[in-house]
Structure formats: C-alpha cells, structure tokens
C-alpha cells in the first residue's frame, strides 16, 4: 500500500508540475463548457417557444434535453483527451531509463501499475469535478432531477477509468509517447463504434458487439438507469486493460 502511494504521489506531482494536466483539464472544461452553454441556450429558446402551450411546457425536461446530450458530448471529449493523459505513464519511464530504477526497487509490478492508474484517475476526477460547477447553475435557476446527473457522472468516471486502463496498456507497449497515444486513441474509437456492425451481423455476434461497445453501456447511465451489468462492464474492462499491462511488463522476464 505504501509503495502504491509512493508511485501515486510521484505521478500526480509529475502531472501537475508539467503543463500536461493543466492543458488537459483546461481544454476539457473549456469544450464541455461550450457544449453546456450551447445546450442551455438551445433549451432556453425552446422553453420560450414551448411555454405558449401548457401541454408542451410539461414535456420540457432539462435532464433529457441538456444533460443527456452533454454527457454524450463530454464522453467524446474524454475519448480524445485521455490518451494524451496516459501516453507518458510507461513510455516515458522506458525512454528515460527510469524504469530501470522502478524494476530494480523492491516494488511489485502491480504496485507500479496501480499507482500510475490511480494517479491518472485522480486527474480524471478533477476534470469531471470542475465541470460539476455547471450543474450548480441549473439547480439555482431550474429544477433538474439529481439522480440522472449523478449516474451520468458515474458513467463518465467509469468510462474514463476504462479509457485510462487501455491507455496505460498501450503506453507499456512502446517507448514513444505519440505512438502510445495514437494506438490507444484508435483502440478506444474502435470500441466506441464497434456496435455499428451489430445490425450487419448474426444474432450471436450482434449481442457480443452490442455488449462490447462503450456507447451502449454509457447511454443507459446517462438516462439515469443504474444497471449493475453496465457497472460490471466498465470495471471488468479496466481490470482487463490493467491485466494486459501487467502481462506486457511481466513479459520482460521471458524475453
């Protein structure tokens, strides 16, 4: 535990002593702020229009009209930003030769991976936390439902956790950070759109592809549906990514 903490603190410091974390957090909040602003603006104009008819007005729902698309957009921005956040985690150690220090210290491979993983997750939490300010305004000036917002954020966090685990895996494969970022970006995008193929495939494959896609599980959560299978999906995905990383690093032993 102490060892994980040591790696965690080191990685977190390194994120925040370089422009890396600030850039990622700033761009993420800027773009999600833009989405939030334009969605709210659209919602406002719709409200004016709908208010002419009492039935229409009762159909207005800020959760569905603002938060659901906002979470969808934020998830895409996460997909674009997180490979940049994770690309250096192992690639840089390899390039700089500092992995020799880590692997000749009395640390287990798991401790190193988890320390780095939790550090990246913390940055994700900060990114999402900053955007949480937006929703305060909607509570001040409107009355959205809290639950779908919470499950939406939970979904974003779980999604981020899965993205980070994939990013760490690709970072462990190469000493080139750009290659790591491109590979993880490609893999994440593929996992995102893999369900597009489902309508073109047979019933068994359709189910598998639908299950594998990030999109499906995330959609459920933004609508406020808290299903254990979706949570299980993301957690098992993260485990899988970390397990692959572990295998890559362990493979030094028989190479």
């Amino acid at each position: 535990m102490r060892n994980i903490w040591a790696i965690y603190v080191k990685e977190l410091k390194s994120y925040f002593t370089s422009p890396m974390a600030y850039a990622v957090i700033a761009i993420f909040t800027l773009i999600s702020g833009f989405f939030f602003y334009s969605l709210i603006w659209w919602f406002n104009s719709q409200s004016l229009y709908y208010s002419s008819n009492p039935y229409w007005a009762s159909q207005l729902n800020i959760n569905q009209m603002v938060y659901s698309p906002l979470f969808g957009n934020m998830s895409i921005v996460l997909l674009l930003m997180l490979p940049v956040l994770t690309m250096r985690l192992f690639a840089e150690e390899k390039k700089m030769g500092t992995e020799e220090l880590l692997y000749t210290s009395p640390l287990t491979v798991n401790q190193i991976i988890l320390g780095k993983y939790f550090a990246a997750l913390t940055v994700v939490l900060v990114m999402l936390g900053v955007t949480g300010i937006y929703s305060i305004f909607t509570f001040v000036y409107g009355n959205p439902e809290l639950n779908p917002i919470l499950t939406g954020y939970l979904g974003l966090f779980l999604l981020g956790a899965a993205f980070v685990s994939i990013g760490i895996f690709f970072s462990s494969l190469t000493e080139n950070q750009i290659v790591a970022a491109v590979l993880s970006f490609g893999a994440l995008l593929l996992l995102w759109i893999i369900n597009w193929l489902s309508s073109a495939s047979g019933p068994t494959w359709r189910e598998i592809l639908e299950y594998l896609s990030f999109f499906r599980h995330f959609d459920e959560l933004t609508r406020g549906v808290l299903d254990t299978t979706d949570i299980f999906y993301y957690i098992s995905f993260s485990f899988f990514g970390l397990f692959l990383t572990y295998s890559v690093i362990q493979s030094r032993k028989w190479r």
């Binding site: 060892n3 603190v9 390194s14 700089m96 030769g97 500092t98 020799e100 220090l101 210290s105 009395p106």
Partner: protein, 305 residues
Amino acid sequence: MIEVENLTKKYGELIAVKNLNFKVEEGKIWGFLGPNGAGKTTTMRILTGYLPATEGKAFVGGFDVFEKPMEVKKITGYLPENLPLYPEMTVYSYLNFVAQIKGVPSKKRKERIEMAIEKSRLEEVRNRLIRNLSRGYKQRVGIAQALIHDPKVLILDEPTMGLDPAQIVEIRQLIKSLKGEHTIILSTHILAEVTQVCDGVVIINEGKLMASGSLEELASSFADKEGVSIKLKKTGEEVINGIREINGVENVVQKNGDIEIEWKKGIDLRDEIVKKILEKNWGLLEMKPLTLSLEELYLKVISGR
C-alpha cells in the same frame, strides 16, 4: 557476498553472457572490465533483477536473485549506465521518492536522505531541479540514489562515464570511501580506474570470463618473466653489454634513462646485478621490481594470451 555460477544470457540468437563464474567477497570493491559490448551491463542487470538470466545462478547477499528478487532488491543499490533521473523533480524530492520505493521506513527517511546528500556532496544543489544540473552533479545524484537505503551491495555501471578529469577523481574518492561498509562492483573500461579503486577484477570479453582475481594474483599468474628496472649514474653501451653478460639475463632494454632487465620466472638475479654494478662502480641510483602493468595484463587477457 556476490556469487555468479554459470550465468548465461541470450537475446534470441545473440549470446550476451556465456557461462560466467565469479565471486566477490564482503567489503571489497571489484572492477568489471571489458571492451564495449562485452556483457558488463547485461551481467549487472541480471544481478539487480532487472533482467532474467537464460541459465545459471546468481546470489547476492546469500539470496538467489531469481527466487528471492525482493530480498535482493532490498539490499542492493544500483546505478545504471543511463542515469534513472526524473528531470522535473528537485534533487531532494527525487531522493525522497527513491527512499520511499526502496522501502526506507518513514522515520528514518530524512536521516538517510541527508546522509546520501552529504556523502555525494549534493548540499548546494539539493533544491535545484535535476533538469538544470550539470552532468557531474547528475552522476552524483545517481550515486546518492544508489546509496539511499544503505545497501550492503552497490552495483555501479560506469560510474565515471562522461565526467571531466576533476570530477572523475572526486567520484573515485567517493567510491573508495564507501569501501568496507559496502560490497561494490563497478564496471568500467578505464584501466586506471581499476588500479586506483579496486581490490580485484573480473575481465570479460564477448560475454566470456577471461580472468578474475585480485590484481596481484592476476599479474603474477599472467607474467612469464620477472625483472627489475634500475637507474645508474653511468649510462651507455658498456653498461648494457655488461649486464647482458650476467648469467640468466634474457632481455635488457633502455627506457627513458631506466634500464629494464628481465629473466626467466623462478630465479632471482638481483644480487648478481647489484654485485656487478658495485664491482664496476656504475653508481646505483634506483632499483625497483618490474610488474606487469594492468594495461599489459588487460591486452594479454583480451587477446587470449
């Protein structure tokens, strides 16, 4: 303290280290000598648990490197050839991080960091970013890092590489001062370093052990002749010829005013030579035994005798 038995490391087809055997006793400094690409770094990486061996065994402090890697890592300090430094950290925070991952208890951490800073003379730069340090200071941070958990065994891969002559002398003195408390292996291809710092030497070439032992042992086992170097008041052909006449003398060479005399191993002609000099009144100024210099020894060993 360090024992290597039949160690072999292959990278695919390439054999980096082949059937290596050697032993280093506690508290000694042992030099690891060989041309570039001889397998020095590979052997050190195996000893520190960074790389696995293909075959053979290695023990550090009585622990098997492959079966008890954690125990070995706890008692070993390692300075890799490429310094494992984080440029965005200050010297102090870097040493603090290394102390943490090397398992120094938090109560003792401060004290150990101060000790490492003092021993490696990093006082002036303790709060500077590693990025901004000169090569010599970076090398010292590397050494401080290896010392931080007070390891029984120190493995230093080319500790003086890339330093200027003054820094080299300083680092050598530092290493010498660590002798006794620590068992040290250092690799180098600078021969003078070995004579100045080390108690013994392992010479490898192309992954194979060429020779190992203390410097004296090696010198005497590889020499097939013995001799003296003398300095006389009188010089010239007459003297050289006079010495050549002595029974048993094999070779007489004049070298910058000194005369080197060699004879077959096993006999001692010193008395005879002195007698002759006194007899002829040549005026003896100096006399010292000829030893095989490390340079000659090294070339002899590397070229396969």
